[in-house]
Amino acid sequence: MRKTLFEKLWELHLVRDLGGGIGLLAIDRIFLHERTGSVALKSLAASGRTVLDPHRVFCTMDHIVDTLPGRGDDTRMPGGKAFITETRAAALQAGIRLFDVRDPQQGIVHVVSPELGIVLPGATVVCPDSHTCTQGAMGALAWGIGSTEAEHALATGTLRVNRPKTMRVSFEGRLAPGVTAKDLSLLLLSTHGAVGGNGYAVEYAGAAVRALEIEARLTLCNMATEFSAMTGMIAADQRTFEYLEGREYAPHGAAWDAALAQWQSLHSDSGATFDREIQFDVTTLPPMVTWGTSPQHAVPVTGRVPDQASSGATPEAYERALQYMDVTPGTAMQDLSIGAAFIGSCTNSRISDLRRAAAVLKGRRVAPHVRAIVVPGSMTVKRAAEAEGLHEVFLAAGFEWRESGCSMCFYAGGESFGARQRVVSSTNRNFESRQGPETRTHIASPETVAASAIAGRLADARSIAA
């Protein structure tokens, strides 16, 4: 029987078949953050239950914590401090590893977990955070859940999971220079829609995926939730093993050898069948950018705001998006003037993202009317960037250089880019008011953000970095 990677991971963790397509799955790693994990820990304690295995539960401060230099427990978000102090108290009581505000390993959950080897190939990983699918890039089964489900996982070490169908998305060919995993995500969303993956666990495959470095794979899997999929995943391979070896929570010595032997079998068998297959040849793919208010509203950065017929949106959604974004059909994307640029988030804040953005920015200045901010995904990333002098490139170009966290990927009542401000952002969501009241977000890769910051309008990094 030829099996898909998903089927192998499902069977490996199946404690009990509950019937009706539901499986009781063992959960190997639980990650929490102060925004939604705090309420799970508090609610668990209030019910008199305890964490089944605290050694496999981790918590970070990323969503609410400020990213301004000199930060502490106070945040610009009204009421934010309580999320931090209550999470700290609950984590201490539960006896779990907390990456606290001043911890040198603090950072965004989906950046910290891979860089410390907490997520492993073949592991099940859950977190009350929709972008947990990011971690599927390590060959794991990783998905976002609610706070009540997090409480369930904490108490029982399991979850009752509705078994999804399987989909393989193959990106064949070879990405051109300056075209990235982010552009693959936007290509998929613009072609098959923001609900295209609904009901599926998606495996990304193909030559262009195999060629991606691990950090780029994390970017690709990150936006599986924007595709409405349960998760995205990429089979672990030699790159994955090399990335993980020696990381703090990864196995060492004989345990590493035993783990490696198992991990090497965790891929879809040749001839395994998926419920759905999607294929792209990405050799001529240009960088992508969004024009509207759903991640599916994406076009080439060299393109134009589409008309309704080619937009993939319903007439009502299309009109609403045009109005909100203040764009007109036929306008060249590169004619849209921007007021702000943001590099960060669980999608694109790793050291390779910062290196690529810095390469575009080196020796250049952001346009005078643009506010530009870069937020490393973890303090580990921040230190690595500073050791390479990347911070000096960003600062010289006119970017703010921040402490790590989710920062301005979303607006929680604190910092924002201002009403009707047009922002180019390396994040994952361009929803109405996501980054601030009435803020107009254009999602793109870090290099597109950097190039746009310099140009003061949406720009193609390939024409700047030459």
Partner: protein, 210 residues
């Protein structure tokens, strides 16, 4: 959790695709570490005239008198997409909603509904559009019934649609079951799994780590 069997109530149409959880409950409205105090912030960005304000926007469906007390929400594809925040479901529940009718849901939002006594009904978009048109004629008289026993949505004598829901979520909603209690009945199986797995995949277990 309150069991759900059948509900006949005012239904409010919000026929947009991709209604995300940021729209259902903006992050700025999640002010305390808890599950309550969220109804006021429900759809805040659309419901009020200004961000952070509380002056009702008369254009928004829930501010129109005919839809006061609505307990069923009619909406579009991919409802509840975006952030995993369960606060979206808590806010809907606290406001009074007990059922959502949409063509599809984000998987996380769907699971959150099941765990909080809100029935996420899946119906075809054209069926929902027909119900919405009929409701609009006279929202307070044209009530909609969500029957979880029969898995049907009925709208007067005009419409009667069957919907699909997986057996376990249906049972959890019908009986108001707590997932943790249910799972703890499998405790011996969980313990046996862990013992076996610890031998097969020792690297997963971190308690022995120096």
């Amino acid at each position: 959790m309150q069991p759900f069997t059948t509900l006949t109530a005012v239904a409010a149409p919000l026929l947009r695709a991709n209604v995300d959880t940021d729209a259902i409950i903006p992050s700025r409205e999640m002010k305390t570490v808890g599950k309550t105090g969220l109804a006021d912030g429900l759809f805040a960005g659309w419901r009020y005239t200004a961000i952070g304000g509380r002056e009702p926007n008369p254009q928004f469906v829930l501010n129109q008198g005919a839809f006061a007390g609505a307990r069923i929400l009619l909406s579009g594809d991919n409802f509840g997409c975006g952030s995993s925040r369960e606060h979206a479901v808590w806010a809907l529940h606290e406001y009074g909603f007990r059922a959502v009718v949409a063509p599809s849901y984000s998987p996380i939002f769907y699971g959150n509904c099941i765990r909080n006594g809100i029935v996420p009904v899946r119906l075809a978009a054209d069926s929902i559009a027909s119900i919405a048109s009929w409701v609009q004629l006279d929202p307070r008289q044209h009530l909609v019934t969500v029957d979880l026993m029969q898995c049907r949505v009925q709208a007067g004598s005009a419409f009667d649609f069957k919907f699909d829901i997986e057996p376990e979520p249906r049972l959890m909603l019908l009986e108001g079951l707590d997932g943790i209690d249910l799972t703890l009945k499998s405790r011996p199986l969980i313990e046996a799994f862990l013992e076996r797995d610890r031998r097969g995949r020792p690297w997963i277990y971190l308690d022995a780590k120096p």
